[in-house]
């Protein structure tokens, strides 16, 4: 069973729709007993970081404990951006600090937000992309991106004026800047891969 954490700033329904569609049990919850019972956790999120970190409040510690426990954790979109140290959207906000890096604006010059389907190239052995070859298109909708400085992280990039991190993997922590639940069949494959990662954990 996968638990989708609902802290009030997520497109929770889209994520649960897609996880159900691939035939996986899913529960929307922030309750400690549900989190303890889950095989893996999805941290969704849409919106601005400051508002989201405020909404997360004490749950930040819960999420850090999940990460430390070795349970697979998948951050999506804003949930992905929250994995890093800090975010520079409307001021500087401290985030979860699970992966070294900071979230900064996409440099001006191109249409902002970065909106639409762009080609993502995977590093070898990124488990979320198993079965998808070396590169695929995914849909983006963001103005800030994570500049990742963590030597332990594998990163998939797309190009938009600069190299934009699209997905990350560090130990049991996974993240996607784009929404796999809104990425057609390839996105459903990513969620299936995450389900397999969750099931393969002892």
């Amino acid at each position: 069973m996968i638990v989708v954490m609902d802290y009030g700033v997520g497109n929770v329904k889209s994520v649960t729709n897609a996880v159900k569609y691939i035939g996986c049990d899913v529960k929307v919850s922030c309750e400690p007993e549900d989190i303890a019972a889950a095989d893996g956790i999805i941290l969704p999120g849409v919106g601005a970081c400051g508002y989201a970190m405020e909404a997360i409040g004490d749950l930040a510690d819960t999420i850090r404990q999940i990460a430390a426990s070795g349970k697979p954790l998948l951050g999506i979109c804003l949930g992905y951006q929250l994995l890093f140290d800090e975010n520079h959207e409307h001021g500087i906000h401290k985030c979860l600090g699970l992966i070294s890096g900071k979230v900064i604006p996409i440099p001006p010059g191109l249409t902002i937000p970065h909106m639409g389907w762009n080609l993502v190239e995977f590093e070898d052995d990124m488990r979320l992309f198993e079965g998808l070859g070396k590169a695929r298109y995914f849909p983006f909708a963001h103005s800030y991106y994570a500049e990742i400085s963590d030597p332990l992280a594998k990163v998939a990039y797309t190009e938009y004026g600069v190299k934009i991190s699209a997905s990350v993997q560090k130990g049991n922590i996974y993240g996607c800047q784009f929404h796999p639940e809104k990425s057609g069949n390839d996105g459903l494959q990513i969620l299936k891969n995450f389900e397999n990662i969750c099931k393969s954990k002892p």
Partner: protein, 256 residues
């Protein structure tokens, strides 16, 4: 490379997809749940759902319908029609929408754009503009509200800039003059807005020939094209459109 988006639009009334000409003379075009699932599976890049009766705020039936459509749509999904405040956007996002389009309410109270962007991020705030050529003036368009029924004296280009500054992350630009005519997008209007703002512009109204899509993406500088009739009435499939655009060197996400 970022690709151009092909976006089918479901104009919904009484739980059915309908399509008219210049916003009038509606005819039935099918079931929104079925059409949404079909376009998602056929390789559309996004889907737009517009409640043309503008009752989203007060009508549980239509929110339930949004949920049903969203359950089978695995591409970005924009919902609009009668949204009046940020709380309603929150409700629609929780019902399966990824973005919300705001039109009349933003004209009446522009701060709704700022508040929504602050809460949900500007990437999910779509400003919809229904623009009409201003008679007697060349290269001028004014904003109309209430589904095109009420003209205002607001200049469409100036409004687009203001909306961007307030927090809109995208503009869904419909030419009232071209809508449903299938005589081609209003390229001049689209270019005027796209040149004035940094956010993406979705061109809408007038899709007919495939070449009109090439024109509005190239000369009109649109980031995306929205179309309804040509898809609903099976004149072209999503694949037809993408194959044609690719042949004319427009970057698109290939349909498998």
């Amino acid at each position: 490379m970022l690709t151009k988006r092909i976006i089918p639009c479901l104009d919904v009334k009484d739980n059915r997809v309908v399509k008219g000409v210049n916003f009038l003379n509606l005819r039935d075009a099918g079931d929104p749940v079925e059409l949404g699932a079909r376009y998602s599976a056929e390789g559309a890049d996004e889907l737009v759902f517009l409640d043309i009766t503008a009752t989203l705020r007060s009508n549980k039936t239509i929110v339930d319908l949004v949920e049903k459509v969203a359950a089978n749509v695995f591409i970005p999904f924009t919902v609009g029609g009668g949204i009046t405040n940020a709380d309603e956007i929150g409700l629609l996002l929780r019902s399966g929408a990824d973005k919300c389009s705001i039109n009349t309410a933003a004209v009446m109270n522009p701060q709704i754009l700022a508040e929504s962007a602050k809460r949900f991020g500007n990437q999910c705030v779509v400003l919809a503009i229904d623009a009409k050529r201003t008679p007697g003036k060349v290269g001028k368009w004014h904003v109309t509200v209430k589904a095109g029924s009420q003209p205002t004296d607001i200049d469409a280009v100036e409004w687009a800039i203001k909306a961007q500054d307030l927090g809109a992350g995208e503009i869904l630009l419909t030419s009232m003059d071209a809508d449903g005519t299938k005589e081609g997008y209003d390229i001049e209007l689209t270019a005027a807005i796209a040149d004035a703002v940094e956010i993406p512009v979705i061109a809408s109204g007038g899709a007919g020939t495939l070449h009109s899509m090439v024109d509005v993406l190239e000369q009109g500088k649109a980031s995306a094209v929205l179309a309804a009739s040509i898809f609903h009435f099976n004149e072209y499939s999503i694949k037809d459109v993408k194959d044609y655009l690719a042949k004319h060197n427009i970057p698109v996400r290939p349909v498998e």
